[in-house]
């Protein structure tokens, strides 16, 4: 007795899945913006010659790189609200977790990029009378950012995959929509297959774009850091 595949109940619930995909992109975008900004801040602190700045930054980076994101998410959703005395929506908990988590990875990308710039660039900037932060902003970062783009895009794709964890605290992302639709239609096989394919298409396209950009950069003679 072969199983009769039937995708029509899933397609009838397409609006739910579309809404889920939009929410997935929303949490990914939010975490990406905050993650990159925070990651740059962490990297600059980490590279600071002052220990009282570099050590705490290093500690945050190590903790968030070394613990599982799902544990972090549960901590920010179930534990922190009691500690601080505020309500956390699933979206807020996810945004905070994925921002800090991706920031700690972005920080290492920034750091590798900044450290890959030759000493001479620093010397030249100093010879022109620039202070450390001026040299960083005007000379070092613009060059470093170009080398970081491939690693940066790779992390962004990882981040998108990580956002699926938010379904476990009932935020209505694409994976959560899949749970709902499969329970509604009693068609888990079709639902999860369709949702896996949606994720595949979106992430695969993003990966291809990243690959193209990396090829372009490689051709323009730019080394990349990972």
């Amino acid at each position: 007795m072969a199983y009769q595949w039937d995708f029509s109940p899933v397609l009838a619930n397409a609006p739910l899945l579309v809404e889920g995909l939009v929410n997935t992109l929303r949490i990914t975008g939010t975490a990406l913006v905050f993650g990159v900004a925070l990651g740059l801040g962490l990297a600059l602190l980490r590279l600071s010659p002052r220990r009282y700045l570099s050590w705490p930054a290093g500690f945050v980076i190590e903790v968030f790189r070394t613990t599982p994101p799902l544990v972090q998410l549960f901590w920010f959703f179930f534990a922190m609200p009691i500690l601080v005395g505020i309500e956390m929506t699933p979206f807020m908990a996810g945004a905070v977790t994925f921002s800090i988590q991706s920031a700690s990875f972005f920080a290492e990308v920034f750091r590798a990029g900044i450290q890959s710039i030759e000493r001479g660039q620093w010397d030249g900037a100093r010879a022109l009378g620039m202070r450390h932060d001026q040299a960083m902003r005007r000379i070092i970062l613009p060059q470093a950012v170009k080398r970081m783009i491939p690693a940066f895009m790779e992390r962004a794709i990882e981040l998108m995959k990580t956002t699926t964890l938010i379904a476990t605290i009932s935020y209505a992302d694409l994976l959560f929509a899949a749970n709902e639709v499969s329970q509604k239609t009693f068609r888990p096989l079709e639902t999860y297959t369709v949702v896996a394919l949606i994720y595949f298409v979106v992430i695969f396209l993003a990966s291809q774009v990243a690959r193209l950009v990396e090829l372009r950069l490689a051709r323009s003679g730019e080394s990349t850091v990972h």
Partner: protein, 219 residues
């Protein structure tokens, strides 16, 4: 707010059971993922189209879908096609192992490709067949270069093992949830779980840094 870890220490047994569950699924996925990854990596390296194309599809599919989606697919969707049920351990192990196989396949392929052709020529000159050259000459050298990346994979597998809690497999995070809901102490329970993971993983992470430094120095 007063922190009170006594309620967590009272449940040390539950955490030990969870730790055993975490280590079990970690070991399964590490062995399955890295060995299957070697096969797929050789397929990706191969010039034979019948090996190369399926290996490429496998790698692209599993690298470009979230591992939690894979786990839920194996748990909720696959049993419909099979005449038997799939346990939470089996579903989570399948998802994590196949995902890790796809990622490690690219590490193996990159490592093998990084070995100079002269090594192949030398092996052939000594009368070795392809399989012998690969096993005796190429892989041992490539393995050294791949070790940092493979260690990072192992760390990722350990972190991914928490996703098994989404299908109610008994591991550390699942036990943390249980303790938190029984004792109303989410702060202490989840902090304890986070600390335990950190303690397990920190030495592994430091080891990977050490391997990376050593490799950079040697090359």
């Amino acid at each position: 707010m007063r922190w009170d870890f006594a309620s967590v220490f009272d449940n040390t047994d539950a955490l030990l059971v969870g730790a055993a569950g975490t280590l079990r699924i970690f070991a399964i996925c590490l062995v399955l993922g890295l060995s299957l990854g070697l096969l797929v990596g050789l397929g990706r390296y191969s010039r034979n189209r019948w090996l190369h194309i399926p290996a490429t599809i496998f790698v692209e599919f599993f690298r470009n879908t979230p591992v939690l989606v894979q786990i839920l697919w194996f748990y909720f969707a696959l049993p419909i096609l099979l005449p038997f049920q799939i346990s939470p351990l089996a579903a989570a192990s399948l998802g994590i192992s196949l995902n890790s196989a796809a990622f490690s396949a690219e590490i193996y392929r990159g490592g093998i490709q990084s070995i100079e052709t002269g090594q192949w020529d030398g092996a052939r000159a000594l009368g070795m067949r392809w399989g012998q050259a690969m096993r005796r000459i190429i892989l041992p050298q490539a393995l050294k270069r791949m070790l940092p990346a493979l260690t990072n994979r192992a760390i990722e597998i350990f972190k991914m093992s928490t996703l098994a809690s989404a299908v109610a497999y008994v591991e550390l995070l699942q036990q943390g949830k249980l303790i938190a809901s029984l004792n109303y102490n989410p702060i202490e329970a989840y902090t304890a779980v986070a600390v335990i993971f950190f303690v397990f993983l920190w030495p592994l992470v430091q080891f990977s840094y050490f391997l990376e430094r050593r490799l950079r120095r040697d090359e």
